[in-house]
Symmetry: C2
Subunit: 95 residues, 2 copies
DNA sequence: CTTATATTTAGATGATAAGCTAAATATTGA
DNA sequence: TCAATATTTAGCTTATCATCTAAATATAAG
């Protein structure tokens, strides 16, 4: 969970996720969307992979990346818990 | 928005937000919950403030911090857009 | 006006992180 | 097997960040 928040803190990685939301892409196709070297993009993809925000699968020469929404939904859960009524979750709350 | 994601990437700051979700607290009361020096906590609070995730107001000697859910709701919106059906938001999508 | 309390600011340090180039690995096809 | 293509790994540099101590600021109380 912490890894996911860390991964999401970088704008390049968030943009990668938005691209993958549209459709699966190879590492090279992703790199083409940025003014950043391929090795750097590969590094970002690795961070996203460790956070389990993306998955990869080799297809011939290419490695195809796809988004994994499971962790994103968990993060959303954190926000939902946050946005609930202030102080609601007290056991000793008076009615 | 980027500031918010950056601010949320630190576990100490996320815990501060969770404390403030329960009730407003002074800077000192917040610092007491961590094994981190008061200046460091002050620094974290400043980052949260710049991201507009918290607000502060002086009350006598103390400065009281409170959570501001507006930006958090915006971040939630980002997640919602992300979790929508893969590829849905194309203009040229065929029905 | 002096002291005590609460918080922040300043300045320094060590750890993380993002970026690069060059080299290594893996796959395909001639 | 050799050359081309796709991606990652290694190693380095620079910048950002979390943390600390010491000093500064602001309010309250005697």
């Amino acid at each position: 969970m912490n890894d996911a928040f860390k991964a999401l803190s970088d704008p390049t990685r968030r943009k990668i996720l938005q691209l993958l939301k549209e459709k699966d892409l190879s590492a090279g196709d992703i790199a083409d969307q940025f003014n950043i070297s391929k090795p750097s993009i590969s590094h970002h993809l690795n961070i996203l992979k460790q956070a389990r925000l993306v998955e990869d699968e080799r297809q011939g020469q290419s490695i195809i990346y796809s988004i994994n929404l499971t962790v994103m939904q968990e993060a959303m859960g954190w926000f939902l818990g946050m946005i609930g009524t202030k102080g609601e979750s007290h056991d000793d709350e008076r009615k």
